[in-house]
Symmetry: C2
Subunit: 124 residues, 2 copies
């Protein structure tokens, strides 16, 4: 069995795409419109082996995020540059716990999902 994607429902497609493609640097690899129903957008990194599927339902329904789902994690070569970018945007984030060996930050995407960004050269 191959792992192929993680699907998340999103509240605002343009803001979500700006976060995942603009800020995180993923690329849109496929889009599927179901008229009057939903828009599905698949995102990938350079390797492209795994996708994040964004589902944007057109009916303006509300969602409950809950506290069970965890987060999506990414690795960067330059965490300080990412932190400077986040601080420049005045976004909330929290840094690594002092007792942890790895360097990372957590922040939220525009839909409230937790996002972890780790510095490369460490275990994910």
């Amino acid at each position: 069995m191959r792992m192929v994607h993680t699907m998340i429902r999103v509240r605002n497609l343009e803001e979500t795409l700006e976060f995942y493609t603009g800020f995180l640097g993923l690329r849109e690899v496929r889009r599927h419109e179901v008229p009057g129903d939903c828009t599905l957008v698949f995102l990938a990194d350079e390797a492209g082996d795994y996708h994040i599927e964004l589902t944007y339902n057109h009916d303006d329904r509300d969602y409950t995020l809950g506290n069970q789902f965890g987060h999506l994690a990414f690795v960067t070569d330059d965490l300080d540059k990412v932190i400077a970018d986040v601080e420049g945007k005045s976004w909330w984030y929290r840094g690594s716990r002092p007792e942890m060996k790895s360097r990372y930050i957590f922040l939220n995407d525009p839909n409230g999902y937790d996002i972890e960004i780790l510095e490369s050269g460490q275990r994910s």
Copy 2:
């Protein structure tokens, strides 16, 4: 930025591992115990490029799953074999919508997360 893992909080680690390694065929690639706090288990498929991180908190806290998070998706070479397996276990599942070109099923993992299993040779 590389995509590295999706983290999900789980209610029962053994039942969850039986589902992801026994039923889905993933393998445990790393485990980290934080005594008195949590157990973290990383799962991968054969390619091993992307991980699912299971977080099992030891304090028996309850969770709210909500309805915003979507699903985790997998691809199999033999969907009929998977369906026979699911039916043999008497698990709930739903099949492809007739109007969709792809063949897939949806079912739930032991924590209530939606799981999609697609037949290979199709777009994910």
